[in-house]
């Protein structure tokens, strides 16, 4: 395949197929370093803290949270939407960028997909524990119960269940299908022992046959094709949890695409956070290059701008609508008691991402890392602003009230961060963080030297 000479290479350094294999597999072949253990300790402690808080919530009741009569959802749904949003980047990278022929995605899709899966797990926890009676969660499934009652298909929460479980299943399958050849590589690299047997089992007997590759590719691209609308639908449906209500500030038609943009925005920020650490810690600078980071920064500008545009649109429309409730809801957002949250949201999401227009900042790893964390915070606050400021002052002024989170709710956020990082840390030691076979397939496209020495391969 021909590539324009003005493009930067996708992989740096003079790589051979063999060195790609050994570079990427090295964490699985060697013992973990002390930083890994340190990270593991911290994140599992955070996880334990969260587990305790979950237990506390289930045992005592939702009353242990700061929610109340008027603000029925707050911290937990904020965090839920945040995680779900983060869980969007993986599939976006794998699916949409695959469809749009963005070859650079090959070295980041694996870890982004893994991130998706872990984030969705963290997210899925919240709808469960936020229930008043979590032991009865099974009510949500349309099973034929003794009273002949099914579920309410009109409810966006039921759609959520279908959307999230489908999304999780498809993401997991997509990820695993992509992993199979690499597990095959691992199997063949490890000489013997239990590890080899396990990888052997997991590799599904992958041979690398041309027909298998053909089917594998077609399946991947078709999965990508269906995952594309899926990824859109999931956050759209999550946004409908809000948008289909009649709460001013929630009920707005722009929500589905705006939430999707926001999700990709926050997801990419999280990918940036993880990749900048991972590439450094695991020495994968040649595969995840500065131009990867820059490309992702460009997506951050795009999605950040869409999000900013949505903020402006909402604000304008609240005024334009002439509906006093809408009007008040948005005034209250910006100038009410939670103005600081609104400012954090605007500052961290819109203002900060616009800095990426500056090429120097866009190319700076340190700045990108900093910014990615800022955006993660900003996106959390975006959901907080949407949820809490809309609810706490809705229609009847008599019911207006304030919301203040408790330690338990913070514990849940910390706990899910713990789960997420624990899972991610385990992942990087068990499976290759970069898709070996896909990187090999673009090796020659990216490498100028190879290209020159072998011009006729196309």
């Amino acid at each position: 395949m021909l590539q324009s000479p003005i493009r930067t290479p996708l992989i740096e350094g003079s790589k051979t197929y063999r060195s790609i294999t050994s570079d990427i597999l090295s964490p699985m072949m060697n013992k973990a370093g002390k930083f890994w253990y340190l990270g593991m300790t911290i994140s599992s402690l955070a996880m334990l803290f969260g587990v305790f808080m979950i237990f506390w919530t289930v045992w005592q009741g939702i009353g242990t949270w700061g929610e109340n009569r008027t603000v029925g959802w707050a911290f937990e749904i904020t965090t839920f939407v945040w995680w779900i949003g983060i869980g969007h980047a993986g599939t976006f990278i794998s699916a949409i960028l695959l469809l749009f022929r963005q070859k650079w995605r090959n070295s980041i899709n694996r870890s982004a997909e893994a991130m998706t899966i872990f984030a969705v797990i963290c997210a899925a926890l919240f709808p469960l524990i936020h229930l008043g009676r979590p032991l009865l969660t099974f009510f949500i499934f349309p099973y034929p119960n003794t009273r002949g009652l099914w579920v309410n298909f009109n409810s966006p929460l039921v759609w959520d269940v279908f959307a999230i479980s489908t999304y999780f299943t498809i993401s997991l399958v997509f990820w695993y299908v992509g992993l199979i050849p690499d597990i095959g590589t691992l199997r063949d690299k490890i000489k013997k022992g239990l590890k080899k047997n396990i990888y052997n089992f997991l590799s599904f007997g992958w041979k690398g046959s041309a027909r298998d590759w053909h089917r594998h590719e077609i399946t991947s691209i078709m999965l990508a094709a269906i995952a594309t609308p899926l990824v859109l639908s999931v956050h759209s449906i999550v946004s409908m949890d809000f948008a289909s209500s009649i709460v001013p500030g929630w009920h707005t038609t722009i929500f589905p695409p705006y939430f999707v943009a926001g999700a990709i925005f926050s997801g990419f920020a999280m990918v940036q956070t993880l990749l900048i650490i991972t590439r450094k810690a695991m020495g994968l600078e040649d595969f995840i290059t500065a131009s990867h980071i820059e490309n992702m920064n460009k997506i951050l500008i795009a999605t950040g701008s869409i999000v900013g545009l949505a903020y402006i649109t909402e604000m304008f429309m609240a005024w334009y609508s002439g509906v006093e409730y809408e009007h008040y809801a948005f005034m209250n957002r910006a100038t009410g008691p939670y103005w600081w949250a609104y400012m954090i949201m605007i500052g961290c999401n819109v203002v900060s991402s616009q800095l990426l227009w500056i090429k120097k900042l866009r190319k700076s790893l340190a700045f990108t890392f900093f910014l990615s964390i800022v955006i993660n915070i900003g996106m959390w606050f975006e959901r907080f602003v949407i949820i809490v400021t809309s609810l706490h002052r809705d229609y009847l002024t008599s019911s207006w009230t304030m919301y203040k989170p408790t330690i338990v709710e913070f514990g849940l956020l910390i706990g899910t961060l713990g789960i997420f990082f624990t899972a991610f840390l385990l992942f990087i030691r068990i499976f290759p963080v970069i898709s070996i076979s896909e990187v090999k397939s673009i090796l020659k496209i990216g490498d100028k030297h190879q290209h020159k020495s072998d011009p006729g391969h196309e």
Binding site: W59, R69, L131
Partner: protein, 990 residues
């Protein structure tokens, strides 16, 4: 209303069992147990019935002694059908509070109090206190039996000792004093006079913590009768009230609310209410014009009114100081409605009351709006008599003190004098049923039974009698006070028999038609009331013809106006707690004050202007003398005054009420022998502490949104839809994308007349009692976790310093396009074919989505396991001990209690709807209009709530909802609520 009585009528034939005062359940039961050989014929069906009942019986018996197994009745009590409610007509008497009631019992347990619509006094109305009184019955903190020196004892032992001592004292010519609140039970009065006769030299002192003694004294001078007259607010076109909260707490608020609201119907003639006051009271918030005054200004204002009126009526002049407010308008209005006006004052100053009497006389109101035929008998005590008693006690001149149902060690401002005197009394006996500050230091405790366990009668107004009958056997080893007195007098009759005798002898003759004492008594007992026709002519003494009242305005002393710096304090009763008798009642403690919306506390009310001046914020703690008390900034509080509620800060009333709020009784003082409800304060000290309130509404403005729609009477007369123009617009614009549903059979709906609603909060408690709404406690209310299904929103309009107040009861609106239903994932909330928004508790798993999407925020979530119905055991959150076995007896078995983690909300009392439908079906007829009453509509003393079938074209509801005043809350959202509001029509005085 007559139709209602279908229930009670059916009891008629079964009355005998009741009136013999046997306890058939127990007697038969134990007879059977003691004679096992006796075989009784019982069909299987009977057996099952009895099994059912036995559960209730076992629950009852459990309170007396431990029963390890349930034993079925073999012979059924005749009137009981398990699962069917029985209603007993009775009376609520608690100190000065009176209400004629129906007690709803289920399986032998009283579970709900309802108003007795036949009563000429309360006319079916109730108050929050009455509604909540049923919970007092199941108060585990009540005294469980007789005690001596704090040690449980036996009635016989104690009786003997007391009789012995009383006799000894009498022999030694000592003084025995019986201290009670005002007693308006004729039979009890007879028992007491018997007691006084028996023990020579004994005295009877009546003491009311909230006293109207100045009024009594003034009336004695003005009218020759030391009575409180029969005020007729229904006859007055204009009511001018100077600090009298007659809709909330003044004298007989249930009665007055009924009367007053009957004149708030804009379709007929509407009255005017002018309120001059310092605190923003319930009455003040319903006033057409409210003028803020300081208490010290009352005399001057009244004198000016007097001057104006005297000049115009009798063409005489009177001296009056400069009036602090412009009274011209008031005088003019008063003069314009001569004979049809009413001037009242809440002051306990004789001078002021004399002045008020004189003005009313000049206006020709005596005999028109102020009647004496059936004068009010519920407030008879004079402060001076108690003061004399305390002095005597201090001197040691009292040998025995028998206290019943008063608590001077808490309510008397000079309580130290009283307790000091108490120590000098040889024999101290308390007959009060609950622990309090007074009986904690007496020797003998002979606890009275709860009124639901007692026989009694009452004559709250002259010539209007009512009966009280027990609805349950004594839960504890208690004995009614009158029985104790009879016992100590040496009588062998029970009080029931005594009362029966009294009625046959003295009252039967008032009803010339009746000859048979048994049928007479039973018919009264069945109706609960006896109101023989009173003579039409007024019975004011002849010599008190107008014009020669012994009144001289020049004798009135005008206290020097206090300096600007001095703050004046107004002490008031709250609607819920009054003087604090029911402080141990969690329902009342959790009832938000109608005006401030704060519960579980009292506080200093202070005007916004003053708060700014003193740099105070809500919840700042102040130091007033020795007491520390938090501040609440209350728009409408007169500048220069502060208001503090009495009845809080009790120390010995029980777990619930102890140390709730601050006790300020000590800050009262007496003037001319009468206890003043005002005080002065030199300075305010900030402590720097902050104290959070449990306040259920923190935003007080409607922000220009049309929740409560208002119009002036004039506008309304010109256009019945005045102030409600949006309704037509919305009707036109609310179009559906899909076919609207119809409810062809019944379509239940409600109309709430905002013109009538006074915001008293009675419906809130009625709803709580009917629907087993949990109590969550102060901390939880503070965290905005309150559970009331029905709340009363209160908004301020106009300026901050002198706001107008509107009330709006908000319950589930039962929207036809209910936003909550759409979003529930498990269809736990959906719509019935009769238009009800249903909530299925056991299907709910608590996503709270419905609550978020409810624009009315009427859904309540069980944040913790409040009701002990939780899915996890051992995680109960019940600070107020509402889930103890005893308290749970108040639960309505027709309404499920809700588990932790489920949403609950108003059901339109679906259990009542179903019961009535069943009954109608059984009787093979259609439902009558008004046959179904929800708890709130039934109890409303202002008749502001009407429930019915919107499909019934002839129903009262339909009449209301077709009027131009009808609108729906947030109707622009097209939720199509079944609850309709009627615009508030204000009779503004410009």
């Amino acid at each position: 209303m007559k139709k209602y009585w279908k229930d009670i009528e059916s009891l008629k034939s079964k009355k005998e069992v009741r009136s013999t005062e046997k306890k058939p359940e127990e007697n038969e039961l134990f007879a059977l147990l003691s004679d096992p050989g006796k075989i009784l014929p019982a069909s299987r069906r009977d057996f099952l019935k009895l099994c059912g009942f036995s559960i209730g019986a076992a629950a009852l018996a459990a309170c007396q002694s431990k029963v390890s197994k349930a034993v079925p009745y073999v012979i059924a009590p005749v009137e009981l059908t398990p699962g069917v409610a029985l209603y007993y007509a009775s009376s609520y008497i608690n100190g000065n509070d009176y209400c004629s009631i129906l007690v709803k019992t289920r399986d032998g347990r009283p579970i709900k109090i309802e108003g007795n619509p036949d009563s000429g006094v309360t006319r079916g109305g109730t108050s929050a206190r009455v509604q909540a009184s049923v919970l007092d019955l199941y108060d585990g903190g009540r005294l469980h039996g007789p005690m001596k020196d704090g040690i449980p004892s036996q009635w016989e032992l104690i009786d003997n000792e007391i009789i012995e001592k009383l006799n000894k004292i009498t022999e030694e010519k000592g003084t025995i004093v019986l201290l009670t609140p005002t007693i308006y039970s004729p039979s009890t009065e007879a028992v007491i006079s018997g007691f006084l006769k028996k023990f020579n030299g004994s005295e009877w002192v009546e003491y009311d913590a909230i006293s109207y003694s100045a009024m009594l004294e003034a009336n004695k001078i003005s009218f020759g009768k030391q009575v409180i007259p029969d005020y007729r607010f229904d006859k007055a076109d204009l009511v001018v009230s100077v600090g009298a909260d007659f809709l909330g707490t003044w004298l007989s608020p249930i009665e007055y609310t009924k009367q007053f609201s009957s004149r708030r119907d804009p379709e007929h003639d509407m009255n005017w209410l002018i309120q001059l006051e310092s605190n923003l009271s319930l009455t003040g918030s319903n006033a057409d014009k409210r003028i803020q005054i300081k208490p010290s200004q009352e005399t001057a204002i009244l004198l000016n009114i007097y001057k104006d009126i005297l000049r115009s009526v009798e063409n005489r002049n009177a001296n009056a100081p400069e009036s602090p407010v412009d009274v011209n308008e008031i005088s003019k209005k008063l003069l314009a409605s001569k004979g049809k006006s009413l001037l009242i004052s809440g002051s306990n100053s004789k001078q002021i009351q004399l002045l008020v009497n004189e003005i009313n006389r000049l206006l020709g109101n005596i005999g028109e709006t102020i009647l004496f035929n059936s004068y009010l008998r519920t407030h008879k005590a004079l402060d001076t008599s108690f003061k004399t008693l305390v002095k005597k006690m201090q001197k040691g001149a009292v040998n025995a003190l028998l206290v019943w149902n008063v608590n001077p060690a808490y309510t008397y401002f000079d309580r130290d004098a009283f307790t000091e005197g108490l120590k000098k009394v040889e024999l101290t006996v308390s007959l009060s049923g609950s622990p309090d500050e007074t009986n904690s230091s007496v020797k003998y405790l002979c606890p009275d039974s709860h009124y639901l366990e007692c026989w009694n009668d009452a004559e709250p107004k002259k010539g209007l009698f009512s009966l009280m009958q027990p609805a349950i056997n004594q839960i504890y080893d208690t004995r009614q006070m009158a029985d104790s007195l009879l016992k100590w007098t040496g009588s062998t009759t029970t009080f029931h028999d005594f009362m029966y005798g009294y009625w046959v002898e003295n009252l039967m003759k008032l009803e010339p038609a009746s000859h048979n004492p048994i049928t007479f008594f039973d018919s009264v007992l069945q109706k609960g009331i006896f109101e023989p026709g009173t003579s039409k002519t007024e019975i004011i003494e002849k010599h008190l013809t107008p014009g020669i009242l012994p009144f001289n305005s020049t004798s009135i002393k005008i206290s020097k106006g206090p300096t600007e710096k001095t703050l004046e304090i107004v002490f008031y009763e709250t609607v819920a707690l009054g003087e604090g008798r029911q402080a141990n009642n969690p329902w009342l403690q959790e009832l938000p004050d109608p005006v401030t919306r704060i519960c579980w506390d009292n506080y200093v009310s202070i005007s916004p202007a003053m708060a700014k001046e003193y740099d105070l914020k809500d919840c700042d703690v102040l130091k007033l003398g020795e007491t520390e008390i938090p501040v609440h900034i209350q728009p409408g509080q007169a500048y220069g005054t502060i208001g503090i509620a009495l009845g809080y800060g009790r120390l010995k009333c029980g777990k619930v009420g102890d140390r709730v709020g601050v006790d300020v009784w000590r800050m009262l003082s007496a003037e001319e022998g009468n206890i003043k409800n005002t005080g002065k304060l030199e300075k305010i000290e900030k402590t720097g502490k902050v104290y959070p309130f449990a306040q259920t509404q923190t935003h007080h403005s409607m922000e220009g949104r049309a929740f409560v729609r208002e119009a002036e009477l004039k506008e309304f007369r010109a256009n019945p839809a005045a102030g409600n123009e949006e309704h037509a617009y919305n009707l036109e614009h609310n179009k559906s994308l899909y076919k609207e549903r119809t409810y062809p059979h019944h379509h239940w709906g409600m109309a709430i007349d905002l013109s009538k609603c006074t915001g008293c909060g009675n419906c809130v408690i009625a709803c709580q009692a009917e629907n087993n709404v949990p109590v969550v406690g102060k901390e939880e209310v503070h965290r905005v976790h309150e559970m009331h299904w029905l709340r009363i929103d209160r908004y301020f309009t106009g300026e901050e310093d002198n706001p107008e107040v509107v009330f709006q009861p908000v319950l589930c609106q039962h929207c036809q396009n209910a936003p909550c239903e759409n979003v529930c994932p498990v269809a736990a909330t959906n719509h019935s074919s009769e238009g009800l928004n249903q909530m299925i508790y056991n299907r709910c798993f608590g996503t709270r989505y419905c609550n978020n999407n409810c624009p009315y925020k009427v859904r309540r979530f069980n944040w913790f396991n409040y009701s002990a119905a939780g899915t996890l055991t051992g995680n109960l959150r019940d600070k107020e001990e509402m889930t103890g076995d005893l308290r749970r007896m108040v639960l309505n078995p027709d309404v499920t209690i809700r588990a932790q983690g489920v949403i609950e909300k108003c059901s339109f009392c679906v259990q009542r709807i179903q019961a009535a439908k069943l009954k109608a079906k059984y009787e093979n007829r259609a439902l009558y209009d008004n046959e179904i009453q929800t708890a709130c509509s039934q109890s409303c003393p202002a008749n502001a709530i009407v429930f019915g079938d919107m499909n019934d074209k002839n129903s009262e509801l339909n009449r209301l909802i077709t009027s131009g005043r009808r609108y729906n809350l947030l109707e622009e959202l097209y939720t199509m609520p079944s609850v309709n509001y009627l615009t508030k029509i204000k009779n503004k005085i410009v």
